[in-house]
C-alpha cells in the first residue's frame, strides 16, 4: 500500500479541476447539518431556559388550584408548610369602560398577598404592583389600555363596582400570551371581588393558592405523599418541578416537528451526497483506470477518493454547523409569539458536536455507497472504455454499507425520538417509501417500453426512449425526485389541512357569540334584547353545577383509594360537572346506545341521564349503571340511560352529562345563550347594552376567538414554511445533482447527434421531452405517496377531515415537472451553444 502522504497528495491534486462537482456534494451536507444543528441548539437552549425560568414562571414553590372553593382542612395543611401565602380568584367576565363607553371580555385575577415570590409582575409605574391592593385599584393589561386609549386613573367597571386603574400590566404570569388578545388580564384586590356581584352560584372560577415553602421541606416529596387526597377533591398541586415538566411537554410537539424537519433535510442531503459522489466518481473512472494501470492497488485508489470525500465532508460539516448556529438565532425570533418563556440563543456545543458527528457519519456512509465501486474499476478500462459496464461484480461490502446506513439512521432516529418502536416505524416508513418509488419506477419503464408510442415525432420518441436506454438514470431520478416531492407535498397537505379545518369552524351559519353567567330571572329580558337586534336565539341552555360523588355503588374516595383500578383515567370525578337538561339530541350529537330521553314525571321516577362515551369510558360505566351526583348539597341518584358521541369540530355548547327535563328545573342554575351577530358594529352595540343591563353576564365573541386562533395558525404556518424551506432547498440541490448525473450520461449522445446534424431545436426538444416526462413521473409518484401517507395520518392520527387543496398539489406537480425540465435543459445548454468538438474534448 502506498504511503498516506502519497495518497493524500494524489487526492489533493486529483480534486483540483473538478471542484465544482464536489460543491454539490458539500452543499447537500451543509444544509442537512445546518438544519440539524440549528434545531438541536434551539431545543437545548429551550430545555436550559425552562430549567432556569421555571421558578419565575410559577412564581411560588407550590401552587394549589381548584375550580371550587377548597375545604379549610386542606388549606390549613398547606399553611403549615409555608412561610408566605397568597391567594387568587380568577374568572372571566365582562368589564365596562365608562370613559369610552365600551365593553371588553377580561380575565379578572383577584389577588391577595405578596405573590409572586420569584420573578415579577411587570407594571408601569413599577410600584403599582405593590400598591394596587392597598389603594383599591386595578392593574390593567397594557394592550387593552392602548386599544381603548385608557390612562392611569381611568375607571373600569367590574360587575357593579367601579375601580380606578393604578398601573399598566406589562407582563403577567404563565402562558397568557395566547388568551390575552381576547381576554386581557385585569388584577384587582382579592377581597374586593365579592363586592362586584360577579360571584354567583354556578359562576366559573378558579381558585389559586401560592405558597413560599419553609426551608428544609422537600416540597416534591411532600406533594407525592399528599397528592392523591387533594386530587380526589378536585385540587391540583403544582411545584416548580411540575412546571418544568409541563413546559417540556408543551414543547414536545414543537420539538417533534422541528426534529422531523431536521431529519427530512438530512435525509434529502444524504441522497444529494450519494448522487453527487456518484457523479464525481463517474467522471473519474478513466483517471482511476489509469492509476490502476500504473500500479495503484484498488484499495489505494479507493483511499485517494475517500480522503477527498472525508476532507470535504469535514469542511461541509464545519460550515453546516456554523450556518446552523447562525440560523438558531432566527428560530426564537420566528417562534417568539408562541413561547411563554424567553429562549436565549447561546451556542450549544452539545448540539454542534452531536450534529457534526451524526452528520459526518451519515454523510460518509452515504458517500461510501458509490465510493466503494472505485475498488472494482478495472485497469482494462484504459484499453477498452466499455469494459466496466459489461461486468457486474457482486460486492459484499455494499451490503455492509447498507446495513451500516440502516443502523446509523435507526440510531439517529432513536436519538431524536427516544423510542425504539417509533424509530423503527419511521425507518420502516422510509424503507417502504424507497421500495415503492423503486417499484413504481420499474413499472413505469416497463410500461413505456410496452406501449411505446411508435407514431410520435422522432424527437419526442428519442426523448421518451432515453428513459429506458442503456445508462438511463430513470430509476435513481424517480426515487430521489419522487421522495423529495413526497416529503414536500406531505408538508403542504398537512399544513393546508390544519388551516382549512380551523377555517371551516368560521364558515357558513355557525354561531359566533356566546353569553354566559346569565341568571335564571335575567333570561327572558336578555332574549328580548337579543331579538331586538334581529339576532337568533340559536341555543338557550340552562347549566347546573354538580359534583360526581359515587358510581357503580362505590363512593369516589374508594375508587381513588383502589389502586388496582385505572384511577389515572377518572378525570370526570375530579372536576365540577356542568350539566344541562333537555329532551332531544342536538345536531352535534349522535346516540351511540340506549334511549336518550326517558321523562321524569314524579319524584319517585328513576332518573336516566345521557353521558358522552369518553366520559363513560373514563369511569368504566355503561348503560344501566348507577351514578350519584351532589347537586349543591343534595344527593341525586341517577342511572345511565344512553351514551352519546359529541362532534367537536364546530363551536357550540357541549355537555358530557345531560339530565332529562323535570329534575333540575328548580336547582340553582345559570344559563348560556348562543347567537349569531351579523357584524362587528352590531356585536359592539349589543355587547354594550347587555353588559350595562346585566354586569354579571359575559359575552364572548367567537369571531374574536377565531381571530386569535387564525393568528396563531398564521404564525404556525409561517414557522412550518420557514422550516420546510430547509427541506425545499435541500430537495432542489438533490434535484440539481440528480440532473448532473444524467447530464453526464446524455451529453455525449447529444454531441453525437449534433455532430451528425441534429438542429438545436431538435436537441432542445429531445432534452425537454426527456426531462419533462421524468419530472412529471417523479412528481406524480411523490404526490401519490404523499396523498396516501397524509390521508392515513389525518384519519388515524390527527382525526381531522381530509381536505385537499388540489390547486396546491397541481402547483407542486407543475413546478417539479417544469423545474426538472428547466434544470435538465440548462445543464445541456453547452451541447447546444458550443461546438461539438469542444464539448467532446472537455468531457474526455
Amino acid at each position: 500500500m502506498a504511503s498516506f502522504s502519497v495518497l493524500a497528495k494524489t487526492a489533493l491534486r486529483d480534486s483540483r479541476r473538478n471542484r465544482s462537482r464536489l460543491f454539490l456534494f458539500m452543499s447537500s451536507i451543509i444544509l442537512g447539518i445546518a438544519a440539524l444543528v440549528a434545531i438541536n441548539s434551539f431545543n437545548d437552549n429551550l430545555t436550559e431556559d425552562i430549567n432556569r425560568q421555571a421558578a419565575s414562571l410559577l412564581g411560588a414553590d407550590l401552587v394549589m388550584s381548584a375550580d371550587s372553593k377548597p375545604e379549610d382542612a386542606y388549606l390549613m395543611k398547606l399553611d403549615s408548610l409555608a412561610t408566605e401565602k397568597s391567594s387568587e380568584i380568577s374568572m372571566f367576565s365582562m368589564a365596562y369602560l365608562p370613559n369610552v363607553d365600551e365593553t371588553q371580555f377580561v380575565n379578572i385575577k383577584a389577588l391577595s398577598g405578596d405573590f409572586p415570590y420569584y420573578g415579577q409582575i411587570k407594571t408601569d409605574p413599577l410600584e403599582a404592583v405593590e400598591s394596587f391592593q392597598e389603594k383599591n385599584g386595578l392593574l390593567a393589561d397594557e394592550g387593552m389600555m392602548l386599544q381603548y386609549e385608557l390612562e392611569i386613573g381611568d375607571s373600569i367597571k367590574l360587575g357593579t363596582q367601579f375601580y380606578p386603574i393604578q398601573g399598566k400590566l406589562q407582563s403577567g404570569f404563565g402562558g397568557q400570551n395566547m388568551t390575552s388578545s381576547f381576554a386581557p388580564t385585569v388584577y384587582m384586590p382579592g377581597d374586593k371581588i365579592y363586592d362586584t356581584g360577579l360571584i354567583q352560584p354556578g359562576s366559573m372560577m378558579d381558585y389559586n393558592y401560592y405558597y413560599q415553602i419553609k426551608d428544609g421541606i422537600d416540597v416534591d416529596a411532600w406533594k407525592s405523599e399528599n397528592r392523591k387526597g387533594f386530587r380526589q377533591d378536585g385540587m391540583r398541586l403544582t411545584t416548580i418541578e411540575d412546571r418544568k415538566e409541563d413546559l417540556r411537554e408543551a414543547f414536545d410537539n414543537l420539538n417533534y416537528f422541528l426534529n422531523l424537519v431536521a431529519l427530512v433535510s438530512l435525509l434529502l442531503g444524504c441522497i444529494g451526497v450519494a448522487s453527487s459522489v456518484f457523479i464525481y466518481i463517474k467522471s473519474k473512472i478513466n483517471a482511476i483506470a489509469v492509476f490502476r494501470c500504473l500500479g495503484m492497488s484498488g484499495r489505494d485508489a479507493f483511499m485517494v477518493y475517500f480522503i477527498q470525500i472525508v476532507v470535504l465532508a469535514l469542511i461541509g460539516v464545519v460550515l453546516g454547523a456554523a450556518l446552523g448556529s447562525f440560523i438558531q438565532y432566527l428560530i426564537p425570533m420566528v417562534l417568539s409569539d408562541f413561547l411563554s418563556i424567553e429562549v436565549s440563543s447561546s451556542i450549544s456545543w452539545k448540539a454542534i458536536s452531536e450534529g457534526m458527528i451524526v452528520g459526518f457519519v451519515i454523510t460518509i456512509l452515504f458517500a461510501l455507497l458509490p465510493l466503494i465501486a472505485v475498488r472494482k474499476i478495472s485497469p482494462l478500462r484504459t484499453l477498452r472504455a466499455s469494459y466496466e459496464e459489461d461486468v457486474a461484480e457482486r460486492d459484499g461490502l455494499r451490503w455492509i454499507v447498507y446495513i451500516a446506513i440502516a443502523l446509523s439512521l435507526f440510531g439517529f432516529l432513536f436519538l431524536l425520538i427516544g423510542d425504539a418502536v417509533t424509530a423503527g416505524i419511521f425507518m420502516a416508513a422510509i424503507g417502504i417509501s424507497f421500495l415503492l418509488l423503486y417499484l413504481v419506477s420499474k413499472a413505469i419503464v416497463w410500461m413505456i417500453k410496452k406501449w411505446f408510442p411508435k407514431n410520435w415525432n422522432y424527437v419526442f420518441r428519442q426523448g421518451l426512449s432515453n428513459l429506458f436506454r442503456p445508462n438511463n438514470q430513470t430509476q435513481i431520478l424517480l426515487v430521489s425526485l419522487g421522495l423529495g416531492t413526497a416529503i414536500l407535498t406531505s408538508l403542504f397537505i398537512i399544513q393546508g389541512m390544519l388551516l382549512k379545518n380551523i377555517a371551516l369552524m368560521d364558515a357558513g351559519n355557525q354561531p359566533n357569540m356566546i353569553l354566559y353567567g346569565i341568571e335564571a330571572n335575567q333570561s327572558s329580558a336578555l332574549a328580548e334584547i337579543t331579538k331586538s337586534y334581529d339576532m337568533p336565539l340559536i341555543q338557550e341552555v340552562p347549566i347546573v353545577t354538580m359534583k360526581l360523588e359515587a358510581w357503580k355503588g362505590k363512593p369516589k374516595k374508594e375508587w381513588f383509594a383502589d389502586t388496582t383500578s385505572t384511577s389515572r383515567r377518572m378525570w370526570p370525578a375530579r372536576r365540577e360537572a356542568r350539566v344541562s337538561f333537555r329532551d332531544t339530541l342536538n345536531d352535534t350529537e349522535t346516540l351511540v346506545s340506549g334511549n336518550f330521553y326517558r321523562p321524569v314525571t314524579s319524584p319517585n321516577d328513576s332518573i336516566f341521564i345521557s353521558v358522552e362515551d369518553d366520559w363513560a369510558e373514563a369511569l368504566d360505566v355503561t348503560l344501566g349503571d348507577e351514578v350519584v351526583f351532589n347537586v349543591q348539597g343534595t344527593r341525586m341518584k341517577t342511572y345511565i340511560g344512553s351514551l352519546r358521541n359529541i362532534s367537536f369540530n364546530n363551536m357550540s355548547t357541549r355537555f358530557f352529562v345531560l339530565f332529562p327535563t323535570g329534575v333540575l328545573e328548580e336547582a340553582p342554575q345559570f344559563r348560556v345563550l348562543v347567537t349569531k351577530s351579523p357584524g362587528i358594529e352590531t356585536t359592539a352595540k349589543y355587547r354594550r347594552e347587555v353588559v350595562k343591563a346585566f354586569p354579571n353576564v359575559s359575552v364572548i365573541d367567537l369571531g374574536m376567538i377565531l381571530n386569535t386562533v387564525n393568528t396563531i395558525i398564521d404564525k404556525l404556518s409561517y414557522i412550518i414554511k420557514f422550516m420546510a424551506g430547509f427541506s425545499i432547498l435541500t430537495g432542489l440541490i438533490v434535484l440539481i445533482s440528480s440532473l448532473f448525473l444524467s447530464k453526464y450520461q446524455r451529453i455525449k449522445e447529444s454531441v453525437l447527434l449534433r455532430t451528425i446534424g441534429a438542429s438545436r431545436r431538435q436537441l432542445f426538444l429531445i432534452t425537454s421531452t426527456e426531462y419533462l416526462i421524468l419530472g412529471a413521473l417523479s412528481a406524480a409518484t411523490g404526490i401519490i405517496i404523499a396523498l396516501t401517507g397524509s390521508y392515513l395520518l389525518t384519519k388515524f392520527q390527527l382525526e381531522l377531515d381530509f381536505i385537499i387543496q388540489w390547486w396546491k398539489i397541481l402547483l407542486v406537480f407543475v413546478l417539479v415537472s417544469v423545474l426538472t425540465m428547466l434544470i435538465g435543459v440548462f445543464n445541456s445548454r453547452e451541447v447546444v451553444t458550443k461546438s461539438p468538438l469542444e464539448v467532446l474534448r472537455r468531457e474526455q
Binding site: 473538478n18 483517471a287 489509469v290 492509476f291 500504473l294 500500479g295 495503484m296 478495472s378 482494462l380
Partner: protein
C-alpha cells in the same frame, strides 16, 4: 463463453522489441492486456518478469505493473486533473521514490516538454500528450513497456517523432518493448512481429534476418 484467444505461445527476450499485428477483432488488445497483467487469462499461463501473473490477484498484479511495467496508449490516458509533471510523477510516487519531481522533470526535458511541465493535458496537443505519456511510461524505469497503437491518434509527422523517441528511450534504458499496431511500417522497426487472426497466432517472424 466466447473464446477470444487460443493457441498462443511465445516469449520475449529481455531488451528486445516485439510488434503484435492483425486485423480489427483479431485479439491484439486482449493479448496486450493479458501480457501486461491488466487482465487474467481464463486458461493457460502468462509469465511477466519471471512471475506467473495468473495466480496473482489484482492488487498483486498492480504491484508488478507499478515496479516493472510501463504503458503507452492510443488515446494517451493522461489524468486530466494532473499537470504534465504530476502525470509523469505518479508511478514514482506510488513506488515511494525520492526525487520523483526531479526525475520527472528530466524525463519531460528529454521528450522536449521541459517548458510545458505545468500544463494540463487539455492544454497540450495530441503529440505533446503522447510525449508526456512516454515520459511517464519510462519514469519507473520499467523492465517492459507495452504500447497500444502509440501513433494511432497522431498525424504522420508527429507519429514519426514519437516512434523515434520511443525506440531511442527503449535502447537507452534497455527496456523490452511490446507494441500493438496496425501500422506495418512501425512493426517493421521492431525485432520481431507476431501476427494474429481470429484470436490465433498465424505467424511469428523476426525482422532482423
Amino acid at each position: 463463453m466466447l473464446e477470444v484467444l487460443s493457441d498462443i505461445d511465445f516469449e520475449i527476450k529481455k531488451g528486445s522489441s516485439l510488434a503484435i499485428v492483425g486485423p480489427s477483432g483479431s485479439g491484439k488488445t486482449t493479448l496486450l492486456g493479458l501480457c501486461a497483467g491488466l487482465d487474467k487469462a481464463s486458461d493457460g499461463t502468462v509469465y511477466l518478469v519471471e512471475e506467473n501473473i495468473n495466480v496473482l490477484n489484482e492488487d498483486e498484479r498492480a504491484a508488478i505493473r507499478n515496479k516493472h511495467v510501463g504503458f503507452i496508449f492510443q488515446n494517451f490516458q493522461l489524468v486530466p486533473t494532473l499537470t504534465a509533471l504530476e502525470n509523469v510523477m505518479i508511478p514514482m510516487e506510488l513506488l515511494g521514490k525520492s526525487q520523483a519531481r526531479q526525475t520527472a522533470m528530466n524525463l519531460l526535458t528529454r521528450v522536449g516538454l521541459g517548458d510545458r511541465s505545468h500544463h494540463y493535458p487539455s492544454q497540450l496537443s495530441g503529440g505533446e500528450q503522447q510525449r508526456v505519456s512516454l515520459a511517464r511510461a519510462f519514469s519507473n524505469e520499467p523492465k517492459i513497456l507495452f504500447a497500444d497503437e502509440p501513433t494511432g491518434n497522431l498525424d504522420d509527422g508527429t507519429g514519426q517523432s514519437i516512434e523515434k523517441l520511443l525506440f531511442e528511450l527503449n535502447h537507452e534504458k534497455g527496456t523490452t518493448l511490446v507494441i500493438v499496431t496496425h501500422d506495418l511500417e512501425l512493426a517493421a522497426k521492431t525485432d520481431r512481429i507476431i501476427q494474429l487472426k481470429g484470436g490465433k497466432m498465424v505467424s511469428d517472424k523476426s525482422t532482423r534476418n
